[in-house]
């Protein structure tokens, strides 16, 4: 049984369909990449998986004891207000809220988990710093630490490296790969097809045509060859 399986899923807003007939499965330990053109509906798919918007039709089944609130999420763009006063620690620990039920305050367990994830993301020493004053790469790592506080099982990353320079991007991919090796399922949207092919074992391509399967199969499929520019006609 897969952690998440989708059957004949249609996604979109109100009556406006963005993508339809999506069939795929995500198993524990997968590194699952979602690729496609801008506006193809990648972010919409993620929001549907998270339950932020309802599927238009079809079904999403959660398995292997994965509960809906056990998904860690790194939003595509976190438009944090200018001057928002929030320390790194405050942001990271807010990820723990999902597992607290109706308990109002953080306990020792939440504090410990926040500290661990801050360490894991290499943010030690920055706990008291203001989130707004960090560099783009540091901010993404803070948000990743927050997502990890919400879950160990599965994280959803929506274009985690957009706007980062190449060196920081590589560091972030390394961190994500380590998490995946540690047993966390990773679902990553990427506009960076190279990285998706390098790290992911499963690819979901959405757009006019839909592909779901192993990365190696994607590379030799027609749609994959087109999109990756290997002998396709869609080279920009």
């Amino acid at each position: 049984m897969a952690q998440i399986s989708c059957k004949e899923l249609s996604i979109g807003y109100e009556s406006h369909i963005v993508a339809e007939k999506l069939n795929f499965e995500i198993n524990a330990g997968d590194y699952f990449a979602v690729v496609g053109e801008n506006g193809a509906g990648k972010s919409t798919l993620i929001k549907t998986l998270l339950g932020l918007i309802k599927p238009l039709s079809g079904e999403i089944v959660f398995g292997e004891g994965l509960r809906k609130n056990e998904i860690g999420y790194l939003p595509q763009q976190t438009v944090v207000q200018r001057d928002f006063p929030a320390s790194v620690f405050e942001v990271v620990i807010s990820g723990c809220l999902s597992s607290m039920g109706s308990r109002p305050f953080y306990g020792e367990r939440e504090k410990k988990s926040a500290k661990e994830n801050i360490e894991k993301m290499g943010l030690v020493g920055l706990e008291k710093r203001s989130y707004r004053e960090l560099s783009g790469g540091q901010q993404q790592r803070v948000l990743l630490a927050r997502a990890l506080c919400a879950t160990r099982k599965l994280i959803l990353l929506d274009e985690p490296t957009s706007g980062l320079d190449p060196k920081v991007t590589a560091e972030l991919y390394d961190l994500i790969e380590k998490l995946n090796k540690g047993g966390t399922t990773v679902i990553m949207i990427s506009h960076d097809i190279g990285a998706a092919l390098e790290y992911a074992n499963k690819i979901l391509h959405i757009g006019a045509e839909i592909f779901f399967g192993d990365t190696s199969d994607y590379l030799i499929s027609e749609i994959g060859r087109k999109f990756t520019g290997n002998g396709g006609d869609e080279n920009e």
Partner: protein, 285 residues
């Protein structure tokens, strides 16, 4: 100096002075708690609109002859808070346009009613009192004092219990939703609490100046502090300090209470702005 103390002692023998101070401090406390969230969520315009709604409701209550106008003003303001938030979210009528419509409408209707059905001979003084809160804080009945105490307690308890979730929703609504926090429910809660605070604060500073009471302490604290907790605590302290200083000052020099408090808040903002500027310069070196 001892003259001043004597004067205070004399004044404190009057229950209305003690009431004014107690209620003033409580209102300052409540209004500053949500200031940070309001400023950051761009809800401050809702605060402004709601205060005008409260003014209109107050006029209606006066005309109908309710002895206790809070019973009408409170529910009306809360309902409007919820409505404003809803319309702000579904963007058919632009959020700020609908706020402007409701707030200006309420002002006009309120003033019209007060003129059509005058309850006292001096209408402009009445209007002025509701707008700038000139004397109502000094004429509180014991019931109103207890009501204020109870409502403040409710506001403070709600804020403390939901503090962490309010932070999460304010910081990143999408993520909060994904962790199962119902962000919209919290937005409604925040709006309702703001409505309560506004109705409370009308007694102190009048409906036109309420936003100042809510926003200035938060903005001041944000100049200096960089984390949510420190900013919240600091803005509460600033707000209570300014309210106390303003009330005492206005009693001694007999200036209108509301504007005096707001001026104190503005002065404090200037001070914190300067401290913030100095800090950031020092950090750069």
């Amino acid at each position: 100096m001892s003259e001043l103390l004597d004067k205070f002692q004399l004044y404190f023998q009057f229950p209305f002075v003690r009431y004014a101070l107690v209620v003033g401090v409580l209102i300052a406390l409540c209004s500053s708690l949500l200031g940070v969230t309001l400023v950051l969520k761009r809800f401050s315009f809702i605060g402004d609109g709601l205060s005008h709604v409260a003014f209109g409701a107050m006029a209606v209550a006066a005309v109908v002859g309710l002895t206790n106008d809070m019973l009408l003003v409170m529910p009306v303001t809360i309902i409007c808070a919820v409505l404003l938030l809803k319309t702000g979210q579904n963007a058919k009528i632009k959020g700020d346009a609908s706020v402007a419509m409701i707030s200006v409408g309420a002002l006009a209707i309120g003033y019209l009613l007060m003129n059509l059905f005058p309850t006292s001979s001096n209408i402009s003084a009445d209007v002025c009192a509701t707008l700038f809160g000139s004397t109502s804080i000094l004429t509180l009945t014991q019931f109103e004092v207890w009501l204020s105490v109870a409502l403040s307690a409710v506001v403070v308890i709600i804020f403390i219990l939901f503090y962490n979730r309010i932070f999460a929703v304010t910081f990143d609504e999408n993520f909060a939703n994904s962790t199962g926090i119902k962000a919209n429910a919290y937005n409604l809660l925040i709006a309702a609490v703001i409505a309560v605070v506004i109705v409370l604060a009308m007694n102190l500073v009048g409906s036109l100046l309420i936003s100042a009471l809510i926003i200035f302490p938060a903005l001041s604290a944000m100049c200096v502090f960089k984390n949510f907790k420190a900013v919240t605590i600091c803005s509460v302290c600033i707000s209570i300090f300014c309210a106390t200083a303003g009330i005492l000052f206005s009693i001694i020099v007999s200036t209108p209470v509301g504007p005096t408090i707001v001026v104190a808040d503005i002065a404090m903002f200037a001070v914190f702005r300067v401290i913030g500027a100095i800090n950031s310069k020092r950090n750069k070196i």
